[in-house]
Subunit: 594 residues, 2 copies
Amino acid sequence: MVADRLESVRRYLENKGLSALIVPSNDSHFGEYIQGYYKCREWLSGFTGSAGTLVVTLKAAALWTDSRYFVQAEEQLRGSGIELKKIKIPGTESIEEWISAVLKPGEAAGIDADLISVSEHKTMAEALGNINLKLIEDPFNQIWQSRPPLKNFPIRVLGDSITGESTVSKHSRFLEKLGFKGDFAYIVTSCDESAWLCNVRGIDVEYNPLPLVYSVIEREKITLFCSLESIGTDEWEYLNSRGVDLMDYKIFPEFLKCFGEGCTVIAPESKISASVYSMATSAGAKFIPDTLRGGIIAQLKSIKNEIEEEGFRKAHILDGAAWVRYLKFIDDSQKSGKPMNEVMLAQKLIEFRKYSEFYLDESFEPIVATAANGAMPHYSPDPENPKKIGEGFLLTDMGAHYLFGTTDTTRTLYIGEPSDEERRDYTAVLRGMINLTTAIFPKGTRGSSLDFLARGEVCSREKLYLHGTGHGVGHSLPVHEGPQSIRMEENPVTIEPGMVLSNEPAIYCEGRYGIRTENLILCKRKSLNSYGEFFNFETLTLVPIEKKSIDIAMLDRRHIEWLNDYHDRVLKELSPLLNAEEIAWLSERCSKID
Amino acid sequence: MVADRLESVRRYLENKGLSALIVPSNDSHFGEYIQGYYKCREWLSGFTGSAGTLVVTLKAAALWTDSRYFVQAEEQLRGSGIELKKIKIPGTESIEEWISAVLKPGEAAGIDADLISVSEHKTMAEALGNINLKLIEDPFNQIWQSRPPLKNFPIRVLGDSITGESTVSKHSRFLEKLGFKGDFAYIVTSCDESAWLCNVRGIDVEYNPLPLVYSVIEREKITLFCSLESIGTDEWEYLNSRGVDLMDYKIFPEFLKCFGEGCTVIAPESKISASVYSMATSAGAKFIPDTLRGGIIAQLKSIKNEIEEEGFRKAHILDGAAWVRYLKFIDDSQKSGKPMNEVMLAQKLIEFRKYSEFYLDESFEPIVATAANGAMPHYSPDPENPKKIGEGFLLTDMGAHYLFGTTDTTRTLYIGEPSDEERRDYTAVLRGMINLTTAIFPKGTRGSSLDFLARGEVCSREKLYLHGTGHGVGHSLPVHEGPQSIRMEENPVTIEPGMVLSNEPAIYCEGRYGIRTENLILCKRKSLNSYGEFFNFETLTLVPIEKKSIDIAMLDRRHIEWLNDYHDRVLKELSPLLNAEEIAWLSERCSKID
């Protein structure tokens, strides 16, 4: 199958005078999840992981993916004639190095102009040196016979009582932040940015409550490009009354081509495709890049207003109740000797979440991982072969979208009795999580300054986790949101009141276990004094933290105080949603340690 | 006086067709301290602070300096017609903004080409826009009649038993790190870099054990440009035998002008003057910038070898004994009611340091600050008006150069009984110092990741210090050394085994007190396991930390354990140098807390 498909790509290449085709994994919106229509790399290679770039030449083929997918890719590529290239492993050449070695100078490699951003295009073209990087139209319209169609589902409108701010107000704050004098067209290709700006949501991609949409912001209006069939009359009128014009998704390219001389087109170069750039400037418009990290809209969106904050709090109470039932279910099953497996447990938490009418969807692919499976940070249970829950750590990392907020929680339980080393690792992770939670920091602090408060505790055990400590979280929008982060790597974005971030230090012992404890935290104003302004965090997540694996002697008084206070709050805030038996169980789980 | 001097500058400007003269505070080596010969800005303005840039136009004059010097500059500039510009205060225009506003487009501002680096020149020329920035020869040779001459003092050679590495070996490691194929001339203008490379020291500037020297590295040899009168026959032979040619300091410009076509000149653009650049490329040589942060030599120099580390340890034992006598002197004076003042105390510590034959000099201007004076991070006692030591915190920040190592220590004592707030502030600073001291971190960690371990404790009190937590320290070389640092600001340099850094969190309460506790720490290899390599710190400084102001309830067990272990070590390592009475006193100071 894969061989036939590669063959058809090679015929295409020959027809077009190309020597290679580069097939990335994204769609033209550069989001985290894509529809089947865009899964060309998967169709062509047989590799189903979410990340990876395939390059096919007339004689060879290779696929680059990261450590999460090495095992899976090795299996799925076996016998395909596609070589696996392991990213970040010493000795692995880059895509550009490989192409430069395989092609001759002057030969051309093609890439779909819709699937590469302007900034990536610059970088790649430069790295390819004397190999010509050619922007082409989507080749899979020809090659992929049974390609699934692009699907559009109904679009919902969120009122100001949920978003806390009308599109009119967002538009006006955007104009202020842009500070541009004269006429302009600002292009928004990220679906979550248009969704935030126009207060709309959809279900066009997995795990993200998003419609596939573009928008163009001008001084006097916003034009939203969406499937007009997916939008009801009420929604249409609602949007129109807020200064949002609607046009069909398919019209977007034609619309871009109308920006003539005298027009100024603005966008972040990392977020618009080479194709959008070329169409928008084809009639003579001048282009100005938005150089703010992540772009203006992402920066505005990252600061939640009070209504959004309140929505996050409500979502976490609902989610906390579901987690309590989930944790109690595991406890009960253990006591009664009922067997459990990873797939069933993930379904169980989803089932409990569905008790709430406001639950929309999971916010990412569920992770329930027993023992050694927990050592893979992005593991997901295999429905074909559900893994039985055995002795050792049991890690659950699951999140949900509610109508008014998004959650992302990790708890690590222990089935059986933890060893001293396991206790010490678990406690180090908990110390780190609490250190970051209780930080007080001055205005102007970057996430990279705070990262080591959490990571340092894991390093004290001479262990590591290779991911960031915290990512931004959207408001009933993608659970991974920029530009804010708490990572070792430098990120010039400062942590500001209203930002929601995850706090998830971890320890992974390969082949043995994974431990991660994750809460969402909201940055708040703490005080203003003669030294300046200070911020701190409010914990949003309300899920008990298992005490069984804590080595209490390793905690300082302030960690113990925080944990006891937190459990008091969990019990108080969740009890109204629970029955007597659940409250009794939770009370025990939330009892004080000393 | 100042008026006459400004007048002579204005006559000079008119003669030269210039509209402004920019007078910086540095010499052509861009070090921290300069000889009287280079104190043109001080002579011209009457302002004696170490940092500041003066700009004189035909009608106006202004001086930019930082917060350390606002009060002093205001006083010293009064009536001079020179306006004070407070750097980093909202509303203060930059030098370039001011010049652009005062001059007309096309007019020229001059600056001595010896006193501006290539990178500063680029930045300033760009910021000046259509004002012409003209590189000129030193105008003060004409203007300053009674200018002191440039002085050169004897140069010492340090043997391999002190430096741990011969110039031959340093030269060969330099070539390896440079990795340049073909002939080249690498220009070194920083005196401390030449001193490290050629294993020489001098006393040509205050507080830095440096001769005024340049060097040029080629593949086969190093040429050291120094005052040939200052070098003895033995030293001359010693250097020659290590591949170091000697040429006179005054020949350096002519030497640079010999690099013809086919030659490649290399240097960090931030460290060579515009004048050196222009001379070195005047005969057609090609210039390649050394883009490593701080340049290759600074990076090599920052990693101490085992002999240098051992020298640091020995220096800290000698210095620790002096500090014990100093602290005991203060204690005895208090008990006997003998009055003390800041100037006398600074002299006292120097006197105790001189007990050691290996003591060379102070490593920076002594800071002894009683009560509110301590709130000024760079305060220095006024010999004209010695301030009596009163109730409250007494901060001493003093360092020394010994033959084989450099020290920099701050201790904050309390005269009287501290209030609760004072105790809490003192303890927060101590917690922060210990947090950083005890950090374990993976290879690849930048100082900005570690900074908040110390700073965060001060922020927890909703207070701040505006300086970095740690600076690099040279080996019997300048006490402030790059490229390593532990600061909030991003610095891509990672902390590596062999680097020596200060660890000095602080709290400043304006008008009331300053608290700072500072040790030097040495980065060491801790372990190598399946996660990778981990580093930690060894504390070099051996001076008891006053326990009187500690709020013990605020310390965690690990802080208490560290402090008790540290005091055990201080007592054990210093006792051999102390008499019975001193040992008895120190034993009490080093007794355990619980």
